[in-house]
Structure formats: structure tokens, C-alpha cells
Amino acid sequence: MIPAAFEYHRPADMADVIALLEEHGDDARVMAGGHSLIPMMKLRMAEIPHLIDLQDVAGLKGITVADGRVTLGAMVTQHELIQHQGLADAAPILREAALVIADPQVRYMGTVGGNVANGDPGNDMPGLMQCLDAEFTLVGPDGERTVSARDFCEAAYMTEREDEEVLTAISFDAPAGGYAYEKQKRKIGDYATAAAAVILQKDGGTCTAASIAMTNLSDVPVWSEAAGEALTGTTVDAAAVSAAVQAVLDDIDPVEDNRGPVAFKRHVAGIILTRAIQRAWDRA
């Protein structure tokens, strides 16, 4: 658990960050909260000759809620997500999800930007951001661009972000309707055995829109369009929920690990999703 030697950089603005990334290319990585990267370095599974700490970079902090649009700076910590009253009013699902991420000590350090940018299929925020249809702002040598959360993840630890780019912000429309983030894990600090993010809109007794994303059940988060469609236009009765579960089961591809075999994970995925839908529907 001793990392190899590395150079530590602590730039104060994004231009310097980009310059360092351009200079060192594949040998450099930016660090937000460090709670994924540093363990990987200590295990020598990641050798990073140039570590660029983002904590002094201006403009990466802060939560804004304006005109129904939520913007999160990449360096906002999970703890700050939990504490922010305006965010809890505008998008309570974030607070619900952040509360089941890791443990309080990790949440003081771990950031929302790091959580999505790392591309770890075990992380909770990428799936949640797909459910919210969020956009990620990436800044690189050629300026700024946005990528949809639903297009961001390519494979485990592989994302749309180029090596010289930094994910600086996340934004999404404050969701309407009912919500739920449901997660089964073995213990505090664990990744999900299965997790589901669900947002439902209700008009009268009918579901008018549904967004469903699953976490840690494939090598990328799974936003299941078919599952959402299975609920839309229904009264979210047992048959509709069952159809949504079936749609998700068609989209996920879990692998066996110490949490259990595939059959168990698929079964639990269905149960967790069912519970998330029910809670979201009750809140809608």
C-alpha cells in the first residue's frame, strides 16, 4: 500500500491544469477528492507520474439552482450535496443517493465530479445522472463542450472524456414528480449489489413520464429507456412494474463477484427496482 513516486502539481486555474495535461499526456491525471485514485495508486494498480490536484482551481466549487436548472461544480463534495437545502428542495434524489455513498468520512472528501468522471461502474452518481438526463461540461485545449450523461460512459473506467480534458460541471433540470434511489449493499462503504434511480411523473392516476437507471449491474450504468416506456401511460400497476423490471433485466449484464452470483444479482435488481418504483410512485 505504498505508491510509486509521483510529481504533485497544484495549479490555481484551469489553464494551468490543461497545460499540465497537454505536457504530460497519459502520464498525468487530475485528482478531485482522491478517494478512488489514491487507493489505486497505493495498490500500484495505477501509476501516475504526474498527479494534478484540483482543489485550488478556481470555479469548480458551488451549487446553483436557478430557473429550474441545477448546476454542480465538479469539486462539490458528497457532504455538500447532502447539506445543501436548495438542492434538497430542487432535486431531493441527489441527497437520497449521496447518503448511501460510502461513509461520512469519505463523503467529506469525495466529489460528485470525481464520482462521475472516474467511470467506475460501481459508483452511484453516473447512473443517477443518466436518470436525471444530466449534461457534463468538459474543458480541454479546444475549449468547452458538453456531453450527455447517457453518452458519457463507454466501458468500465472508459469515458467520452479525452485525456487532456477535465470534467468541470454537471447540470440538469430540476426533476418534477416522484423519485427514489434504492440501493442494496453489504455494509456501509460498499458498492451496490444493485441500485436503482427512478423518477416518475404522475397526472391523475397515470404515469406521464418515467426515467430509470441501474447501477453496478453492468460495466457501465444502465439507463433503460424501455423500462421507462413500460411505465409511461400506465397506472403503475403490478403488470406495468413487472414489464419495467423485465425491460431492465434485458438491459443489464451483471457479473459474479463476492457480492454473489449472477442469478442473485438479477433477482435483487428486480426487487430493488420494484421498491424504487413503488416509493417514487408514492411520492409522485
Binding site: 500500500m1 505504498i2 510509486a4 456501509i188 462503504g189 449489489t193 463476492n258 457480492r259 433477482h267 426487487i271
Partner: protein, 805 residues
């Protein structure tokens, strides 16, 4: 001439003696970050060691190339077995009569085995150099299943002479270590054959690990000028380490000083002698500099001593009414690559022969086959006396299985078979003599407190509701009644490497009436500095707050066998009480002289000696201590000191009654502990608050083991649970509320009647949690399912029973 005499109760309270919930004196430094652990030892010029470890579970080593590592700036040495061989230190004896490689000698036998030891000026350089050591391995077939190992042609231990006896008798196969037997097999089999009812079950008690918060480590400092070696380390038995170090190195024992500083938890993990200790010593001798070795968490989980890994098959017989008539137990014990179990020499399976439990079983047999596999060596007593968790789990599961066979309530079955109060001292079928107990009283109190009958009614209603589809949660009621066997032990049958398992206390009373006492034990969090001072306070009349307790420095503390197996209070606690009584005896003579009466005319009263019949005439212990040093007393030596070495006449037998109420989500496999009630009887209670803390800690480690904590291997011998992501270490979040309770049945042979408590909750807790899970499914036909009961295994149980529709 004396001050106004305070009220007797006030004087007694002022002592903070036995029975007082005195706050732990250690916590002042621990809660302020002022503890002094082995990694806090920093010496001038100190070098750092790190291991090259085997990635393979079984492989031949064709070559080791250290050139590139040696070429790295800051590397001082790279030691291999070849370097240690001339000193005859490439192998070392184990506590179990086997030997173990210090550094891989021609082959490796488990993943994580120590292959080379890099010594560098800096901890980071040492880690870099480890990566540069080139080892050429040739993979060999891997054996991770003990049953397969006993059939296989693959020879794991090529160093052992084929066909020759092992340390514990004949070996029936090249991967077999020993067969250890107790009891009468022929009669047992006869009883079983003719029994009205027989229940049989095989259960696997999975491999796990004690996983103390502080990992293992050492700092060795060889002073070549005066020839003295000082060794700081995470040692649960520092005096034994000194003797072993002397025997191994040839350095005379008076030239070795072993210091166990503060220890951040042991739970058995720090009883063994590990290659890291030996390598740090050798490296210090070779370099003439202090050398530190501290293992990381993954190394700790992967290579230092594991616990359990027992396959246990039981057959239990009874009358139709439920009176048990016989018990047969066979164990296949996976000991890993070397037999490095930490047990008293004559007990290669520890005290597994306590497996008749708390029950009056007329005849029994136990056979244990030890087996070599390609797993890490160890086999320590993880928060229990030697193999007692295995024994208690076995019998408490067999009782449940028998209850199913008899279609009987498991609480009632226990009650019918408990050893009765009037049967103590009770000679068990497998040889032990239980000192004292009152099981029926404890059991009745437990069942009454939890309202057992109401719980069973609620459970029956729940089952019906489940069948009607109104709930997906089942309710389990876990029961366990355990008897521990602790306080090893009588020198006549308990020794470690030939050293009798006595313990010791040495007391010096200072002239002003305060004191220092030193013991042969070593606290790893048990609070010895608090509780031993309380024993002395009650015995000598000196307030506990005026008594310093020291342990762990072999240059100052008297020889003792250390702290594990709940032996500190039963053995060193007895030595402490007896040393205190020696102080009191001399104090009585001094008091009589000062009061100008005959010795027999004064009597001890809390903190003073008073003239019988004239309580206004007295001398306080403070006055007596002063006189002991400053007044010439005819016929009495100056000073007030005492030493006691205590060889216990018997073990002590704490017991307890536990009940767990659990709700299980059949669809997710998630268990939720609704209630946990723990009644412990540890005899005389020295510090109720520390007892409660011990019970909470032991139960939490029991919860861990029962519900998920394991060291798992794949077929190639790779450790699958090498980090705390997968190795379950519960936090406050996973820990339920515990209700504690007690009865008091003192040990008749212990000077203060105390029995020890630190490990009882673990021993009784594991079967209680496990029984709760299994009881939830009893109505649906479950007989037994193996631990650990993590989510997917509970889910699988439900699935196999067809509960997912």
C-alpha cells in the same frame, strides 16, 4: 493521632476496587491520539523492511534475481532463504511442533508467502525495490480443499520425511498432519447404533481472520557494542517471544529485551511468530541498524494467522423424550501450508474436546484430522479460547438439528439436557472438569426477559402471514447457550513450546502508599491497567488510582505467558490477588507492631488494619507503607514488595445464555437484527463497564463472522477477500443494539472467583446469530446451511427452499 475516620462505605468507594465501573485509565491517551504503538517507534538511522510475496499458491522457485533491487539507491540489503540458511533461520519452529519457512526455500505454498525481504533507508524505496526483485516461478498444482488434499498425489511438504511421524503421532498421508482423538469411540458408536433418535449433520465453519485494527509489525535494534537486542513488536506473549528469539538466534536471553508497546487489538492474530519479526531481527544483526517491519492490511489478511476452517461432522443421539445419550464428532481441519496453530502443545486441536458443551452427555468421541493445503498457515483462537468457538458452534448447531429431528422446541431441548447445578464440579465425557455453573437459572432468566413464548407465537403468526402472501419477511429466533473453557492453564497439562502456562504479578508499594504492579500479560485493549489495579485496590487497601500497572517489557515485567484465550484474569488476575495478599500479610505484621498488639489482634478493614474490638485504633495502609520503609521493625525486612507466580489448579468455565431476534427479507437476503440479549456469567465481576464493553465487542465480531466475514480462496488459491471492501469488518452502522445481563457463579478455585469474559460473547454470539438465520427457515424445511450468512447465501437458502415462487 488519626484524621477523622470517613464512613466505611466512603472509604470503600474511594478505593475503586472490584465491582466498580471505574473508567478506563488507558482511554485518556487513546482518545487523544497519544497511544504509543510499534509504528510510533522511530529510532535514529532506522531502516525499513518490506516483503516480496508470492503471487502463486503453489510454485517452485527456479531463481531469485536481486540485482536490480540492490542497484536502487537507498536499498541496503535483499535477504532470501539462501542468506538465512547459514544462520539456520530460513525455517523456524511453529507453536504446533511443525516448522515453517521464514523465506521461501525452493518453493512457495500459499499466496502471499514471504519470498524475499528488502531492507532500505526509506519505506518508499523498500516498496519500489520489492517490485524490482525478479522471481522465476514454476507453477505447481494447487490444493485448496482439505478432502482433496488427503487424496491427492501432490506432495505439499516435500521437506517432511515420507511415512515418518509428525509432532502429534502418525501421519496417514503425505498431506496429513495428525489425528487427535478424545473420548471413547467404540462405546459412542454403540450408543448411537442403538439410540431411539439420531441426528447427523456436517457443517463448515469457514476460514476467517481476527483482523485487529493495528496490523502486525516489529522494530529490531541490535546494539553490536553491548551485544543487546531490543525488539519492539505486536506480541500478545512478549516473554515467550524473548525465549523463542533467544533459542533461534543463539543470543542469550538476558541480552534480549522484548517490548510490546500499546497494541491495537490482537484477538489471537498477534500470538504467532511471523517471518517479519525474524527478518527484522536478522536484518538488524546484518546491518547493525534498527530495522522496522510493518505489514499492511492486505498482507495482514493474506498471510498472518487465520482462524477456524473446520469441517465438522456430528452425530448426536437421544431418547424420544429428548435426553441426549451420545455424541460423535469428526473434524477435518484445514491448517494451511504449515501447522502454525497457536495451541497448548498437547492440544493440536485446542480445546475442541469441550464440544459436549453445556450438556450432560454420558459418552462422546472426538477425532480431528489436521490437513495441509495451499492456504496461509495459522489457526489462531480468534477472540476465543483454543478452538472453543468451533466447539460451541458445533454443539449449538447439533442441538438445533436434534430439535428438528425430535420435532421439539430447541430451548426446551437445551433445558432437559443442561448439566445441573448440583453436578458441579462436573466431569465431562471428553475429559474436562467444569468448575461451577448454574445453567438453568441463567437460561430461565434469559427466556423470561425476552418473553420467549410470545416470540414463538409471533413467529408462528408471521409464518402464516408469509404463507398468505402478506409479508416477505421471516422471523428467526436464535438461541445459544455456551460454556467457555478459559484460563490456560495448569502447567501439568498446558504449555507452549515447553513453557508452562502460569502467569505472574510483582508489586512494589512506594513509601507514600502508592504502588506499581507489573504482570506477565499484555493488554491489547482489554483495559488491564484499569482492572488489575482494581483487584489490587480491594486486596491491599491502596486506591486503584494510586496504582500503576505495567506490562509488556521483558526487562521489567515478571515472566508470563501473555494474553489470549481469556487467560489474563483467570491466571494473572489470580497472581495479582495472591501477590496483594502477600503485601497484606506483611502489612499486618507492621500494623501490629505499630499498634503494639499481637499480629492476630489486628484485622484488615478496607484500607487499614484495626485492632479487633477497638476500631478507633488502626493504621492505614498509607501509614503502614511509610513505616515499612522508614522505621526499623524488629524481625521484619524493610520495604513492601511481593511477587506471585500462579499455576492455576484448573481452567475456569464462564457461560452464558444468548437470544437473537432477526427479521429476514426473503427476496434480498438481507437480515435485520431486531433484538440481541446476552446474559453472561463470568463469576466475580471486577469492572462491570469493561465487561459490558467486552460483550459488545465480542458480539460484534460474532456478528461479523456469522453474517459475512471470511477469507475465501478460488480454485487456484488466490485470496478473494484481501481488502476491507470484501472482508467484512462491521462498523457502528452494522452493529445492532445489545442488551446485556448477568448472573454470578464464582469459580470455586480462583482466589477472587473470577472466570474471564473477553471472549465469551464471541463464542456464544456466533451460533446465536447463525441459529437465528437458520431458525427463520426451519418451518420451511431447512436443517442446516453453512455460514457465513451473507445476503446472497441467505437468498440462496430461500431460493433452494422454493420461497421465490
Amino acid at each position: 493521632m488519626n484524621d477523622m475516620t470517613p464512613d466505611r462505605d466512603d472509604r470503600s468507594a474511594n478505593l475503586k476496587g472490584m465491582g466498580c465501573s471505574r473508567k478506563r485509565v488507558e482511554d485518556v491517551r487513546f482518545t487523544q491520539g497519544k497511544g504509543n504503538y510499534v509504528d510510533d517507534v522511530k529510532l535514529p538511522g532506522m531502516l525499513h523492511g518490506d516483503f516480496v510475496r508470492s503471487p502463486y499458491a503453489h510454485a517452485r522457485i527456479k531463481s531469485i534475481n536481486t540485482e536490480a533491487a540492490m542497484a536502487l539507491d537507498g536499498v541496503v540489503a535483499v535477504l532470501t532463504a539462501e542468506d538465512l540458511a547459514p544462520l539456520n533461520l530460513h525455517w523456524m519452529p511453529t507453536l504446533a511442533g511443525d516448522k515453517q519457512m521464514v523465506l521461501a526455500d525452493g518453493k512457495v505454498l500459499f499466496q502471499g508467502q514471504e519470498v524475499a525481504f528488502v531492507v532500505a533507508r526509506d519505506r518508499y524505496v523498500a516498496a519500489d525495490a520489492v517490485e524490482l526483485v525478479e522471481v522465476d516461478y514454476e507453477e505447481l498444482p494447487v490444493l485448496v480443499d482439505p478432502f482433496e488434499a488427503l487424496q491427492s498425489d501432490v506432495v505439499l511438504r516435500e521437506d517432511l520425511e515420507p511415512g515418518a511421524d509428525g509432532a502429534h503421532g502418525p501421519r496417514k498421508h503425505h498431506n496429513h498432519i495428525f489425528l487427535w482423538e478424545a473420548g471413547d469411540e467404540a462405546t459412542t458408536n454403540q450408543v448411537l447404533e442403538n439410540a431411539e433418535v439420531v441426528a447427523e449433520e456436517t457443517m463448515y465453519y469457514h476460514r476467517t481472520h481476527p483482523c485487529p485494527l493495528e496490523t502486525c509489525g516489529s522494530v529490531a535494534s541490535m546494539d553490536k557494542v553491548n551485544g543487546k537486542l531490543t525488539l519492539w513488536g505486536t506480541f500478545q506473549a512478549p516473554h515467550v517471544v524473548r525465549t523463542v528469539a533467544s533459542l533461534l538466534s543463539g543470543i542469550e536471553e538476558h541480552n534480549i529485551r522484548v517490548i510490546s508497546p500499546d497494541i491495537g487489538g490482537g484477538f489471537g492474530n498477534k500470538v504467532g511468530v511471523y517471518p517479519g519479526y525474524v527478518c527484522s531481527i536478522v536484518a538488524s544483526i546484518v546491518t547493525g541498524k534498527p530495522v522496522k517491519w510493518i505489514e499492511d492490511r492486505m498482507e495482514n489478511l493474506m498471510s498472518t494467522a487465520f482462524a477456524r476452517d473446520y469441517w465438522m461432522t456430528g452425530r448426536i443421539s437421544a431418547t424420544k423424550e429428548g435426553k441426549i445419550t451420545g455424541l460423535h464428532c469428526h473434524v477435518t481441519a484445514d491448517h494451511g501450508a504449515f501447522d502454525a496453530c497457536a495451541d497448548p502443545t498437547k492440544y493440536p486441536a485446542g480445546f475442541m474436546n469441550i464440544c459436549t458443551g453445556s450438556y450432560d452427555i454420558p459418552v462422546a468421541y472426538l477425532g480431528v484430522d489436521g490437513v495441509y493445503t495451499n492456504k496461509a498457515p495459522g489457526g489462531v483462537s480468534y477472540r476465543c479460547s483454543f478452538r472453543v468457538t468451533e466447539a460451541v458452534y458445533f454443539i449449538e448447531r447439533m442441538i438445533e438439528v436434534l430439535a428438528i429431528e425430535l420435532n421439539m422446541d430447541a430451548a426446551e431441548l437445551r433445558r432437559i439436557n443442561f448439566i445441573k447445578k448440583e453436578q458441579f464440579p462436573y466431569k465431562a465425557a471428553l475429559g474436562w472438569e467444569y468448575d461451577s455453573g448454574d445453567y438453568h437459572t441463567a437460561w430461565d432468566k434469559a427466556l423470561k426477559t425476552v418473553e420467549y413464548d410470545a416470540l414463538r407465537r409471533e413467529q408462528a403468526e408471521r409464518i402464516e402471514a408469509f404463507k398468505r402472501g402478506e409479508t416477505r419477511k421471516l422471523m428467526g429466533i436464535g438461541l445459544s447457550f455456551f460454556t467457555e473453557i478459559v484460563g490456560a492453564g495448569p502447567v501439568k497439562n498446558c504449555d507452549i513450546l515447553g513453557m508452562g502456562m502460569f502467569d505472574s504479578c510483582e508489586i512494589r508499594i512506594h513509601p507514600t502508599g502508592s504502588a506499581i504492579a507489573r504482570l506477565g500479560t499484555i493488554s491489547q485493549g482489554q483495559g488491564h491497567a484499569t482492572t488489575f489495579a482494581q483487584i489490587l485496590a480491594s486486596e491491599t487497601g491502596i486506591p486503584a488510582d494510586s496504582i500503576t500497572i505495567e506490562e509488556g517489557d521483558t526487562d521489567t515485567a515478571p515472566y508470563g505467558l501473555g494474553t489470549y484465550g481469556s487467560r489474563s484474569t483467570p491466571v494473572a488476575g489470580a497472581a495479582t490477588a495472591l501477590a496483594g495478599r502477600k503485601i497484606r500479610a506483611k502489612a499486618q505484621m507492621i500494623a501490629a507492631y505499630l499498634l503494639e498488639v499481637h499480629d492476630d489482634d489486628v484485622e484488615f478493614d478496607v484500607d487499614r488494619f484495626v485492632v479487633k474490638g477497638a476500631p478507633e485504633r488502626f493504621k492505614t495502609m498509607k501509614e503502614i507503607a511509610y513505616a515499612a520503609y522508614n522505621q526499623a521493625i524488629p524481625g521484619v525486612e524493610p520495604g513492601l514488595e511481593a511477587v506471585s507466580y500462579y499455576d492455576p489448579p484448573n481452567m475456569t468455565y464462564p457461560f452464558g445464555a444468548y437470544v437473537c431476534v432477526m427479521d429476514i427479507d426473503v427476496d434480498t437476503g438481507v437480515p435485520e437484527i431486531r433484538r440481541f440479549y446476552a446474559l453472561d456469567d463470568c463469576g466475580t465481576r471486577i469492572n462491570p463497564m469493561i465487561i459490558e464493553g467486552q460483550v459488545h465487542g465480542g458480539l460484534t465480531e460474532a456478528l461479523a463472522v456469522a453474517l459475512g466475514q471470511e477469507i475465501a480462496y478460488d480454485d487456484l488459491g488466490n485470496v478473494k477477500t484481501g481488502t476491507l471492501m470484501d472482508f467484512f469488518l462491521p462498523t457502528a452502522w452494522e452493529t445492532p443494539n445489545y442488551e446485556t445481563d448477568h448472573t454470578v457463579t464464582p469459580s470455586p478455585h480462583h482466589p477472587i472467583g473470577a472466570k474471564g469474559v473477553g471472549e465469551s460473547p464471541h463464542v456464544g454470539g456466533v451460533p446465536c446469530f447463525s441459529n437465528a438465520v437458520q431458525d427463520a427457515f426451519r418451518a420451511f424445511g431447512l436443517r442446516h446451511t453453512h455460514m457465513p450468512h451473507d445476503h446472497w447465501r441467505i437468498w440462496k437458502t430461500a431460493n433452494d427452499l422454493g420461497l421465490h415462487g
